[in-house]
Symmetry: C2
Subunit: 287 residues, 2 copies
């Protein structure tokens, strides 16, 4: 498999990106194409005392899209940027996949503009793994978790299909259960968007199990949680905020005196692993 | 102060409502009017061996609005219901306030239909106290937390004014800080509703401090968090769900063996108080 990697996107690029790719070569049977300013990438290789072999090659791209640039404008004008070049490698069959830690909006726009849509799917979505509590390693897919702040019912139907197919083909879940995030379990609850989406999902080929209330998200039976990107962003970030703050508070209680520090020893590792479950850097990547 | 209480609304009514009112008489200097089926209320007095004095009186109401009735229809047709009679007591100056644990939609509709709106306020809202983590007893007001699933920017401006006035007059907070729940801190973030609301709030007399990302809600500096009722419901219930599930998981870890049970003793009370902070029955009432 050949993966095109945007060497110029994200915090501390290209240093951290190059470092990650060099590490990945040892672990995965993949060929990596680093896309970005050739001299900057070569300089990182030298710092790492790394001699590139045939499994890692460089594709020079002179332009960089910054994180605060207007996405649509940037991808239209910067044809020689690392993001656009990565996307075009996938389009032209020169790479099987691409990844970027850069401007998410530009990435979405470049995908729409140069790669195009799958037939029947109106909008691309960002998919996140939502860690389910008390279920070791189990997660639900949250679609859309931030690409489309405002959606139509047919968009949510598309997200349900994409989430189901991804969950079954990438994780082997058979007939994935699809839930719709809503403010009540009854079919007539919520906004016009949600009422209409309920009807579409009910009459679709996905395994729709109904509305999921926010209170039940952390232990949901659903494999795929469907919502608009505004809601997905709120759900993801609020979960993170609440979880981190509670765990921080408990840690403070546990370490406020020497006695409690000793008493807390048996739980320290458990708390740490729980904290990791909610750390966005654990699940940072999103298809 | 005279308070009209809907004796027939909520789980286990009228038994629990009557019991609560009898208890309240000992604690507060208020006069209570219990509104509902007189014979049912009297039967509860007898069970409690309570002899009503001048501080608690009964106003007979023959009809009851059930929790699953269509709100607007119910309040239009059931003029002799406990909810409508409570509202009308406030309208006619016979009571200073009213409370009900019954059908929330019917309560909102009855308020709109019989009590009417304050001039300049388009929509009533439900206000909840959102407990802030690690700040003993501090909370933010979440407006709207569920009355209006779909809103216009001017509705959110109204919520901001109501929340500010309530926070300053009921809790003595000077010049309350108002935040807008959004998916980013920049002014151009979010849906059309949020972009327009940002501009209205910025140019209003409230002390607007900008957008608040979901991740920052649990430790926000804002005294009033403004959002539509759909978002408010998601924020409130997701917080509850995440907090409860984490605390439950920690409790399980702590009690999974006898050794850990002993080690956990110093934290048991602390965890319990934290759990109480997130229990919706602690902050169950909502103006």
């Amino acid at each position: 498999m050949r993966i095109a990697v945007d060497a110029m996107g994200g915090d501390f690029a290209p240093a951290e990106i190059v470092k990650g790719c060099v590490e990945a070569l040892d672990r995965a049977d993949a060929e990596i194409v680093l896309v970005g300013r050739e001299e900057a990438i070569r300089a990182e290789f030298e710092k790492l005392k790394f001699k590139p072999d045939g499994n890692i090659i460089i594709l020079d791209a002179r332009e960089v899209i910054d994180s605060d640039e207007s996405p649509v404008r940037a991808v239209r004008h910067k044809r020689d940027s690392s993001i656009v070049k990565c996307i075009n490698m996938v389009r032209d069959g020169q790479a099987d996949a691409m990844l970027s830690a850069g401007n998410t909006g530009a990435l979405m726009s470049a995908a729409l503009l140069y790669l195009g849509r799958i037939e029947g799917i109106e909008r691309p979505a960002i998919v996140s793994a939502y860690p389910l509590l008390g279920r070791k390693g189990r997660f639900a897919l949250l679609v859309d978790s931030g690409a489309n702040a405002e959606c139509k019912p047919s968009n949510l139907l598309g997200f349900a299909y994409m989430g189901s197919i991804y969950m079954s083909s990438a994780f082997g879940v058979k007939n994935p259960k699809v839930g719709l995030i809503n403010i009540g379990t009854e079919r007539n609850k919520g906004t016009a968007l949600l009422k209409d989406s309920f009807m579409l999902l009910e009459n679709s080929a996905v395994n729709f199990i109904g509305n999921i209330e926010a209170r039940d998200i952390p232990k949901t039976e659903a494999d795929v949680l469907v919502c608009d990107g505004y809601t997905g962003n709120i759900v993801l970030k609020l979960t993170e905020g609440v979880a981190w703050n509670i765990l921080k508070l408990i840690k403070e209680k546990m370490t406020e005196s020497l006695t409690s520090k000793f008493a807390a020893l048996p739980f320290a590792a458990k708390l740490k692993s729980l904290k990791k479950d909610f750390d966005y850097s654990t699940y940072g990547g999103a298809p």
